[in-house]
């Protein structure tokens, strides 16, 4: 070619990744944990489906939310579940939350040079009965936090959480102080508000909302009684309880 454009071989590379939108979010309370995600799955401007779960029950007391490239996310959840099953075979009990967190970091880092293109948020109850949230980056860096948002609307939701959960830019009344943990009804309101707002302002968020609530053993379920669309997922009468709340979000 006169312009020299074919002098070097042209490489068109297959791109093994995609980005499927949506947002996830988790907040830890003193003795509970709330993990939520919208159910829209999209690619570009197309909505692929209005119901594709991003939040998954792992054990009686652990829930994993996965956001990013949906195929990687589903595969990753499937693999984590199988690892947990092997743990159950070996130890005849469920893996504790902090161990699941470390397992996830190991599994993510194992793919360091061909990463799972997913942001994970793990929520649940620790062995000491406290509510916990762990957040991860795609290659396994992780930390325990009180709250975290990830995904398409992270930049909209996280500042809101910083303000409402961590009380950033709020000054307590003289002589008063901010609480370390919010009560469950407040947390649920914040979660719902986060998603309705994100739905308004982000095209990749909407359609449906799934909120998982894990309550530590012995905690009252009173505060959930009045919530619509509630379904219990626990299989044991005693021990930690797990619920899911399904709500609609705007579909436009």
């Amino acid at each position: 070619m006169p312009d020299g454009s074919y002098e070097r071989p042209q490489q068109r590379q297959f791109n093994p990744y995609s980005e499927n939108g949506g947002t996830i979010l988790a907040i830890a309370g003193a003795d509970f944990s709330v993990i939520a995600g919208d159910t829209r799955q999209s690619e570009g401007y197309s909505i692929q489906t209005r119901y594709a779960p991003k939040v998954f029950r792992l054990t009686e007391r652990a829930v994993l939310a996965v956001n990013g490239f949906a195929a990687d996310g589903n595969m990753f959840v499937k693999k984590v579940k199988q690892r947990l099953e092997w743990y159950r075979h070996a130890h005849a009990k469920d893996m504790p939350l902090r161990a699941i967190a470390r397992l996830i970091q190991t599994m993510l880092y194992a793919q360091r040079f061909f990463p799972y293109y997913v942001y994970n948020i793990l929520g649940g109850i620790e062995e000491d009965g406290t509510g916990a949230v762990y957040s991860f980056d795609p290659v396994g860096s992780y930390e325990r936090e009180a709250c975290r948002a990830a995904g398409a609307a992270q930049s909209l939701v996280q500042p809101f959480l910083d303000n409402q959960i961590y009380f950033k830019n709020q000054t307590p009344a003289p002589g008063a102080s901010h609480p370390t943990h919010l009560p469950l009804p407040d947390v649920l309101s914040i979660v719902i508000d986060s998603f309705t707002s994100a739905t308004e302002r982000h095209i990749e968020v909407g359609d449906g909302l799934e909120i998982y609530v894990v309550l530590a053993k012995g905690r009252s379920t009173q505060e959930l009684a009045s919530i619509g669309g509630l379904q219990e997922l626990s299989t044991r009468a005693e021990g930690d309880r797990m619920f899911v709340i399904r709500r609609d979000l705007k579909k436009d």
């Binding site: 297959f14 197309s46 692929q48 489906t49 119901y51 195929a71 589903n74």
Partner: protein
């Protein structure tokens, strides 16, 4: 490079392993790239099929695809079936690379045969076929050697309708109406409008009409489509794929189009 001569295949294994030192059951059955250091991978589809449409309706699932396999912009093969029955309760429709689809057809037929020869009364339903395809597609994309297709899998399992999508990346999802490729942009909004409010209210005839309507819209707008198409239905009675049928189209409006080329008035 595989250094086990017994794994090389022909010439006969006995020449290299006279005393059968390599245990029978560990011997790999096939090696494709023993002598190949450089391997060709699919970087782009070659002979392609365009959109596949599918909806759920009262009695099951209905799927449509035209009979064209294009070579770039050339309408190369005009009698290709892109709908494939898997067992007695599943239909798979494929867009994208047709040779990859034909490979998948062979693989699917193999697992159906294996399932049948087990002879224990178990069979693969659409959910299993879809999971299987999703794992295959994802595994191939992870090897950077994708099967260049977007597939729809539909059927009936335990009296419940099933309809789901899987593509070359291993991305999956399900909904009551689905479309691949160009159809996802042009036909899917129409399908959603007709189907999503209540699939149970759609009779077989109505479902057929909805798909026909969308195939016609696609034929008007998609330059890689054909006016010859097939419809597959899966109901509790089984799978059936129709004969190829012709779309009735009307191009009268073309005469009145003005305002481009030499026809300025």
């Amino acid at each position: 490079m595989d250094h086990f001569p017994t794994n090389w295949g022909r010439p006969r294994n006995e020449l290299y392993d006279q005393y059968n030192t390599f245990p029978l059951h560990q011997r790999p059955t096939n090696h494709t790239d023993t002598f190949t250091d450089g391997v060709q991978r699919t970087q782009q589809p070659i002979v392609t099929g365009t959109s596949v449409l599918a909806i759920q309706y009262k009695d099951g699932v209905m799927m449509a695809a035209d009979n064209l396999a294009s070579y770039g912009s050339l309408a190369r093969f005009r009698d290709i079936t892109r709908l494939h029955a898997v067992g007695t309760s599943t239909i798979v429709g494929a867009s994208g690379d047709m040779s990859d689809f034909q490979y998948l057809q062979r693989v699917l037929d193999e697992i159906v045969t294996d399932e049948f020869t087990a002879g224990d009364g178990n069979s693969l339903g659409p959910a299993e076929v879809h999971e299987f395809l999703a794992r295959r597609m994802y595994a191939r994309r992870s090897k950077m050697n994708p099967l260049w297709n977007a597939l729809l899998v539909g059927g009936i399992q335990n009296g419940k309708r099933f309809l789901a999508f899987v593509d070359l990346l291993g991305t999956t999802y399900s909904a009551s109406s689905l479309a691949t490729g160009y159809g996802a942009h042009i036909a899917l909004p129409i399908l959603r409008q007709d189907v999503d409010p209540n699939p149970d209210a759609i009779t077989e005839e109505a479902a057929r009409e909805i798909l026909r309507k969308c195939m016609r819209v696609l034929y008007y707008r998609d330059a890689r489509s054909l006016d010859k198409y097939q419809i597959a239905t899966v109901t509790s009675a089984g799978v059936s794929i129709s004969e190829a049928q012709k779309l009735d189209t009307n191009w009268d409006f073309a005469e009145k189009i003005r305002g481009y080329g030499s026809q300025t008035q």
